[in-house]
Every structure is written in C-alpha cells, then in structure tokens.
C-alpha cells in the first residue's frame, strides 16, 4: 500500500469541477476603539479562494490568523471591506433577513461547539424540522417527519426513531455534531463552511465525523471548507490545503504536496510543531523537543510587519523580506507559495531536515533585557531567600 493508493485521483482536476463558491481578493478590516482613539485591525487581506463541487479545502493556521473571519465573510456574517464573494459566478453582497435566505440555502456554516449551537430546550424533531420549514424544503407534518428521518440516516444516526424525540443533552458530543451537520444538510446546501468542526469532540469519535464529511463530499458532491489548526486532520480529509498566516494566505496546493513538500517556512513551522509519534519515539524527549526555543507568536494585525508578515519569525529572512511583500509563485502546477526564497532562488533551504525556528530561549531573554535565565541560579536564590523558613515544618515533614 503506497501513499497514493487512497488518493489515486489526487489532485482532483480543477478544470473538471465547477467552482461553487469563490472569494476574490477579499479583505476585512475591523475598526477598534480604545482610549487612544481608533485603530484598524487588518484581519484578512487579499484572500483568493475557490471551493469546487465535491472537494474539501482545508484552511490551516495558528489562532488569530484569520481563519474564522474568512468563514464568517463567506457566510455573509460580516460585510467585506474589499474584494468580492461569488456564488456560482454571481457576486453576492452582505444582506440580511429574508434576502439572505437564498444564500443560506446554498451556503451553510458548521459551528465549532455542538454543545452551544443546538437549542437545549427543543427536541431534535424541532431543531431539524425548523430548518426544513424555514427554507421551504418540506410541507406538512408527514413530509417534515419523513425528511427528518432521511437526514438522520444520512448522518448515520440510525435508527432515526431512536433519536428524533431526544433533546440535545441526551446525546453525546459526536451525536450532537451529527445533528449540527444534519441541520445544515436540511437546506440542501452546495457548500458547507466547517469552523473547527471536530476540535470540541472526543478523539475517539473525531474520525467518524471526518469520515461522514468525506462521504458527503464523495456521494453528494458537497463542497466543504474545513478550518482547523490540526494539520494532520486536514491532510486526512482535504484535497487541498491552504495555509494562512496573519490574515494572508501564504501557501496552497494539494494536501500531499503541501505536507510532503512545503514551500513556505511557516508551513514548515506548522508541520514541525505538530506531534507525530509516527516519526519515531526512539531517543529521549529532549531530542524530540530539542533546540525548540521560543517559536514566537503571530504579529499584531494593527501594525503588521512590513514586507512579508512572517519575516520577524523566519530563520531565512533577507533584507527584501521586510521591505516588499512577496508575490505568489507557482512552484508546481496548482502548488503555490508567497515567499521571497523562491524569487531569490534559495528555495532549497526549505528542504533541510532540521530548520532552527525561533530564538533559543537564552538569546530571547538577553534581547528582552533579562540578565539571568539559568534555572539553577534562580533556584539557588530561592533557597537563599527562603532561608530558615524551611525550619517551620508540619508534623509529617520533620
């Protein structure tokens, strides 16, 4: 069995699959007001994204990289600051109320927390029936009932009779997330936007929910945007992976290419940070975590770094990186990255076995003006400071 065995048709041919939902150069700025006046948070900048029929696209990145904002922009929860969103080639704009209903009939958002996204006071029959009725997908009690049964079967909650009269609190986390998926399916959408749909679930049932989403893709041609920071699950489920950093997309391509041949230093950082017992547990923990210093945190999006936003954390940063923003470079068909290493002909650096990310902690401390970070020294001082207090001991610590 080889790597490609389950992925024979990978990457799916873009040309063959129609684009359902598209974002073109979408930008979102939030204005925040504080004591010192207002500031602009550049949460999402210049995102291009295509969701194809029957395809799962993953969006990975650290917290605060703008992943959720993209999902909310695509679901018209926020109006965009710039750029366009197109549903089946037609531009859509931020609308509310009944006008939004047609859009929501095509594009549905899956929330992260199935414990908070279902009405605790209503049975499953009501929760699913309401979505059907609002969108006019079923008329009359009998038809509604029948459709609910179908939905429950589609998300593998069988037999449906066993679940239809239950309340959310009677279901486990995985079952609730299936109800959330069934409710989204009730309106017969073409696109689902999953914002960390498995991160609140127990590990033992995550795979089943992922498999369900894969099944919906394969059997019903659903387009799914899968947002996560767990790059291993993104690889398992998605056909393509997009990597976001500080509000921008920095790399995109077929899942296997992005995982096995990352073309942006940030993607390498994400991959190197993810635990993977598969790469071997030989040796002690120190060797697995060794030389990991302070890997840093994403920059402020109010005053993002000039040039490439990753440059302050990048071990390969050159002068040009903090002057000009890199252009998109196509490395192989369908696989692109925005990084100066490609234009400067230094992309081989990304293939190194060990990349030293971040600053060793001593250096970081020295730069921050900390004179001593040697734990033993500090400990000695502790003992000195504590002095005779250790004499004041309880009955079982003579």
């Amino acid at each position: 069995m080889t790597t490609t065995s389950t992925r024979t048709e990978q990457p799916r041919q873009d040309a063959e699959r129609e684009v359902v939902l598209e974002a073109r150069d979408v930008t979102k700025h939030f204005t925040v007001r504080g004591k010192k006046g207002s500031a602009v948070v550049r949460a999402v900048e210049g995102i291009d994204l295509e969701l194809h029929r029957g395809e799962i696209v993953a969006m990975v990145g650290e917290s605060g990289s703008g992943k959720t904002t993209v999902a909310r922009l695509l679901s018209l929860y926020y109006p965009t600051t710039g750029g366009e969103i197109l549903l089946e080639g037609k531009p859509v704009s931020h609308v509310t109320g009944r006008k939004a209903l047609t859009y929501y009939g095509q594009v549905q958002l899956l929330f992260q927390d199935p414990f908070a996204s279902l009405n605790a006071l209503k049975p499953i029959r009501h929760i699913l029936g309401r979505a059907l009725k609002i969108h006019g997908k079923a008329r009359g009690a009998k038809q509604v009932e029948q459709r609910i049964h179908e939905l429950l079967t589609r998300v593998n909650l069988t037999p449906p009779e066993q679940y239809i009269d239950k309340y959310p609190h009677e279901l486990s986390g995985g079952q609730r997330q299936r109800i959330v998926i069934a409710r989204a399916l009730a309106v017969e959408p073409r696109v689902m936007l999953g914002d960390e749909p498995i991160s609140m679930l127990d590990v033992s049932i995550r795979l089943d929910v992922l498999n369900l989403l894969k099944k919906l893709r394969d059997e019903e041609g659903l387009a799914l945007l899968y947002i996560t920071h767990d790059i291993a699950s993104a690889r398992y489920i998605a056909d393509r992976i997009n990597v976001m950093y500080a509000g921008q997309m920095v790399e995109g391509g077929s899942s296997e290419e992005v995982i096995h041949d990352p073309q942006h230093p940030y993607t390498r950082l994400l991959l190197d940070s993810s635990p993977d017992p598969g790469r071997g547990l030989e040796g002690d923990q120190q060797s697995l975590f060794d030389e990991v210093g302070d890997l840093g945190e994403p920059p402020s999006l109010i005053t993002p770094p000039k040039g490439c936003r990753f440059n302050p954390r990048c071990p390969f940063a050159m002068d040009i990186c903090n002057e000009k923003e890199p252009e998109k470079v196509e490395v192989s068909p369908g696989h692109w990255a925005k990084c100066w290493l490609h234009q400067e002909g230094r992309a081989d650096l990304l293939k190194q076995r060990n990349i030293q990310f971040g600053v060793p902690i001593e250096t970081a401390a020295a730069e921050a003006g900390i004179d001593t970070v040697n734990a033993e020294d500090i400990l000695d001082r502790t003992v000195a400071l504590e002095g005779e207090t250790t004499a004041d001991l309880g009955p079982f610590q003579p």
Partner: protein, 351 residues
C-alpha cells in the same frame, strides 16, 4: 526501556477510588487506581472525556471538592528526607506545608486560573508570601520576574494584567507560577488544549527544559495521545474510571496490550505516514452509573469474548514493564497487538 534516568519513588498511589455522591447513589469516577511515580519522571495520563483523568489528578493533590469523595486507597508521598506521608487522611491545614512547596498544579484554563483584576506580579507575590511570610514585597516581586523569565516571558510583564497577554503567555505564566516554590511534583491538567500547535511546541520545550534543570516530576493529563507519546516516560490509559494500561510510552505505542490503547492510538490520522481509511472507536463511553458487569470496554471492543461480558479484568502485569487489564492477555490467549503497521491496517477494517 525507560527513556531517561529517573530517581527514587516520589508518589505511590494505591487502590485510589473516588466517588461522586449523587441523589441516585454514588458514581465511581475513579476506581482502584494504582501506580508509582518517580522523581523527575513524566507520567502521561490519557483517556476520553469522562474517563476520570481530571478526577484522579485532583484527588491526587487532595483538591477534589464535594460531591467528589475519596472513598478508598492511599496516596503516599515520599519526602526527600525519607519520610512517607499518606495524603488521603490529611486535613487541609496539614496539607498546607506540602501544597505548592512540594505539590503544584497547572490548571486547564489559564484565563480562569489567573485573577483578571490583579496584575501578574501581585499574583506571584501573593503565592510567594503566603508560603514565606518573611519574604519582603520587593524580594517577592523580584522573584516573580525571575520566574517569568524562566518560561521566556519578559520580566516587565509583572505589571501586566492577564487580559493584556496572549493565551500562550498566560499559560506560560501559570507554569512559572506553579514552579514558584520549587515543587517536587507538578500536575498539568491539559495545559495546552487552549493554544495552537506552535505555542504548544514552545510550551512543551520549555517545560522539558525546566524539568531537566529543576528535576520535578510531572503528571501530564491530556486527550492528545500523540503529544503524550512524544513527551512522557510512561503512560497510563484510563477508561471508565479505571487505569486499563500503564507502561513505558514506547511500549504502549508499539505493543499495546489493551485494545482500547490500540484503538486510541489509531484514532489520530498520521502526519506523514501513508494515509489509509481510518475509523474512530465505535459506540460511546459507558454510563458510569450502570457499568456493565464485565469489562467496561467490551461493548465497543472488536475482540470481546464471552468472558469479557461476565468477568471484569484486573490490572495485572503482562510484560516486564507493562500492566494491563484485559482478558486477551491471559496466558492461553493470543496477545493483543503486533507492530504498529499491522495493527493500524487491522484496526481500519476490524471495527
């Protein structure tokens, strides 16, 4: 094979049982947990939600609150001077000398564990002076800065409020706070679930560095088994309130002796290894109110036998360093796991 050298026995847990008292009777959240922790050792504790991980760790430190009650067993703490103390019968007052000085905890949610209306420095001073009333405010603040620097936080952060820091920084300052009195044992209850993978890596490398320099033992609780495998010396797997397998991490990964350990291990999609269709563990965790007569995992177990439905397996030694509670390990039966590759593909289709 142990991954590193560890020291003498620090904590001996014997038959520890914790019940939750409810109107419908007692629910046994942890039953007869036994294990030994050595100085400087990292013990990982894994299991699904509701398996009793957090109940066990709070009971270890005697931090459990009603309706949780420790109904049996011992937690023997071996002091560095050779004395042995059973923590279970001690009153809070008696435990005061051990808490934070010897036994510390890093709570799950950094946002809830820090006081939102006090500056970080004040929270450190509070702890330091509580445990050493003779320490001056100035010395304590100085020490707070040192402690923050330990986990790579600039010392001027003593003047910050928790909301002014990122989630990762808050979590790191909690770790610093736990180390304030140089404890022998630090219990970490899912310290990295609220942060992303990059921050998790930063935090874990710092914890390991501090652990190496200061020598404290760690009980690390999480449901992220892949992280635990990389991090811990030994692993304990919990299911329905019981420790079902315990042993060196590498052993449990390569040769799991309990089907649940194997299923849990195979629940994580690989990062680089060839992809195959994978399945989760079928069914749901049992209701602790009415556990089956036999093995609690039997209804979800692909290899359950008749015996499993009637007789509850005990945690017994099954190999040199591994204890497991599964009838499949009885001498006349075939063993549970082969190498990881066979086991993976087998699991993919067996369920």
């Amino acid at each position: 094979m142990t991954r590193r050298d560890v020291g003498d026995v620090l904590l001996e847990v014997q038959d520890l049982s914790v019940d939750y008292l409810t109107l419908n009777g007692a629910v046994s959240a942890v039953s007869h947990a036994s294990f030994t922790l050595r100085r400087g050792e990292i013990l990982g504790l894994a299991g699904e939600s509701g398996s009793g991980k957090s109940t066990l760790t709070t009971a270890l430190l005697r931090l459990q609150r009603s309706p949780a009650v420790t109904v049996g067993g011992k937690v023997l703490y071996h002091g560095d001077d050779g004395t042995v103390t059973d923590l279970v019968p001690r009153t809070d007052k008696e435990l005061l000398h051990l808490r934070w000085n010897k036994l510390a905890i890093v709570m799950q949610s950094a946002m809830d564990a820090l006081n939102p209306v006090k500056r970080l420095g004040a929270q450190f001073v509070d702890v330091l002076r509580q445990h050493d009333p003779r320490m001056s405010e100035k010395a304590a603040l100085e020490r707070a800065g040192d402690l923050l620097a330990l986990s790579g936080i600039p010392r001027d952060r003593v003047d910050s409020f928790p909301h002014e820091m990122s989630g990762g920084m808050r979590q790191r300052s909690l770790i610093s706070l736990a180390l304030a009195c140089d404890p022998d044992l630090v219990v970490m209850d899912e310290p990295t679930t609220a942060v992303d993978v990059v921050m998790q890596r930063t935090i874990m490398s710092q914890v390991l560095r501090l652990q190496r320099e200061l020598g404290f033992a760690i009980v690390f609780v999480t449901h992220d088994l892949s992280l635990l495998l990389e991090l811990s010396d030994r692993l304990a797997i919990m299911y329905a309130g019981k420790v079902v397998e315990i042993g060196p991490s590498t052993e449990l990964y390569h040769h799991p002796k309990h089907p649940y350990t194997k299923a849990l291990r195979d629940s994580f999609p690989p990062l680089y290894a060839p992809l195959v269709e994978m399945r989760g563990i079928p069914g749901t965790a049992p209701d602790l109110m009415n556990l089956p007569d036999g093995c609690a995992f039997a209804p979800r177990c692909a290899r359950a036998m008749d015996l499993c439905l009637t007789k509850r397996p005990e945690l017994v030694q099954v190999s040199e360093k591994v204890d497991a509670a599964c009838h499949l390990n009885d001498p006349q039966k075939e063993p549970v796991g082969a190498g990881p590759s066979d086991a993976r593909s087998e699991n993919g289709h067996a369920a």
